[in-house]
Symmetry: C2
Amino acid sequence: MVSLKDLSKRCGCSVSTVSRAFSNPDIVKEETKHNIFSVAEEMGYTPNALARSLKNTHSQTIGIIIPSIDNLFYIEVLKNIELELHKRDYKLIVSFLQPGIIDERAALEPIVSARVDGIIIFSDNRDNERYFKRIDKQIRIVQLFTRPYDEYDSIVIRDADGMELAADCLLKRGHRRILYFGFSDRVEGYRRAYRKRGFPVPEELIYIEDRPLTAEIFSEALQDHHPTAVLTCSLNSQTAIQTMIGQKIRIPEDISFISYDDSNWARIMGITVIAHPLETVTEHVVNTLLERIHCPQEGGITPVRIEIMPYLIERKSVRYLHSQADETRE
Amino acid sequence: MVSLKDLSKRCGCSVSTVSRAFSNPDIVKEETKHNIFSVAEEMGYTPNALARSLKNTHSQTIGIIIPSIDNLFYIEVLKNIELELHKRDYKLIVSFLQPGIIDERAALEPIVSARVDGIIIFSDNRDNERYFKRIDKQIRIVQLFTRPYDEYDSIVIRDADGMELAADCLLKRGHRRILYFGFSDRVEGYRRAYRKRGFPVPEELIYIEDRPLTAEIFSEALQDHHPTAVLTCSLNSQTAIQTMIGQKIRIPEDISFISYDDSNWARIMGITVIAHPLETVTEHVVNTLLERIHCPQEGGITPVRIEIMPYLIERKSVRYLHSQADETRE
DNA sequence: TTGAAAGCGCTAACAA
DNA sequence: TTGTTAGCGCTTTCAA
């Protein structure tokens, strides 16, 4: 590939002059510069970012590690982050996790090797604490959606509050028997919604699951508790809706439904959801990371902790329950 | 960050010995090697891929450019390609296109600058032919799903054949009035299916659209033609299904439906689809690309052209139309 | 305004 | 088995 040296030969000037023409054009004579540019164009020169990065101590590259969880939101976030980084002249190295095959550590290694300027992670545990500690402080790290490490910057979503929003939306419409399938860290919002309205929390309707929900478990729960509404998280929501469709349960006529996390199918089917502000997330991630990179503060860094509030998108999956009588009739 | 030089000082040997310990361990004495490794571990050494790539002439990096079309299949492909590349010690630089903001050319530049060993593109035109021509032959290019450039390797899907599969599935079940919304390159399959069964092709039911379908257009078509079945492509499918849900049209009781391209929502809603073999695609892309990289054949390269056959996934969105009588009753 | 020279971290040919 | 040396393509002092 054509290098500065090749250009310099054809231009009859030194390599440094050619270099300056690209990286510091102001200090080189118009004429020389024009000549260099036209020769560069003619020879099809593209700067070698590898060499440049080696010399400078930044690579204009960010690494991101996407967990295997099949959440479309991650992809939206990925896309938006890449778009924003591109505008700011950063490249993105992407690595996906795969349980049992590619773990965080395996994903991290090539990224560190590539001497990225920053890394975006979604870790939900400190399993690789030792490895993380070894990553040079030069490489900035920001945690997205989770906060296992106190020492890094983080952008997280206030999921419990989001869940409260969802539960309250249902409560407000007269629902009392709301079946909950989700993570333990969010259930507090569900309980809070009941308490704030002065209703007893129906603990028997709370299913805290760390593993994906199955159609069987869901059907059983439906039969056992006769809920008027269902509130579930991401992957669980898919199982729930699929099971209900299979059983010809109409939404919202038979059962009302809110899904935590927006998705394509929820939009298509008119399911009310709790969504996350994509642009806000992107903005915070990129800003936080790049600010750290451009203004490196050695020594005691206080990690930035940004919390983002989810919001409710009302569609057509929640029915208004007028009275207790109505509820009994279900 | 700690370098080979740092290690060599602490180990009391030369930089080359340390280098060999990592890249060619067989030719360095056990003892020396062990010492080097333990010191490396202790000092937290991670090889600098930038420097290595500069010296060698490959970067173990592939670039991929994802079009803005909101097709989940691209993402699945992306994920699988990354997973496979990771296994083979390649990193992936991802760039998304954004109409009017980031075009192919803008996406390509940093990737070429990063001196990737190969590029995966989804171009559907030759708009950037001149720029492509300038990309050093050292960087291998493979086109995925489309084939605008004759001179590069390509992996494409036999979409017309896939469409024939879909149309025939409907025809077989007694449907004759199949509304088609899709791209012009696939419609031939639709026509072929009719012809093969000896039915006249209902040209009035064919809507060839290059722009996304709107709910209005779709509703009108439904009213005008009273189809018994609908056959649509990717994004059009979403509009179609959403419109039908909105109008309380039952699938398949009122109208049968097949969507070209599988998706999450299709799975959830039990929609019969034409799907693409993800693993086959991934395998071919990665193999084709890496083979080219590892066995560079200078001079007249005959581009590889791989065609992949889509397949039908039958779910529950196609109804059996027993007789003409049935059809009239619709 | 330009050039010469050193060096970023690594590899590889050559010599020892 | 190891060390010396040159060089990948670039930037950046320092000097001219």
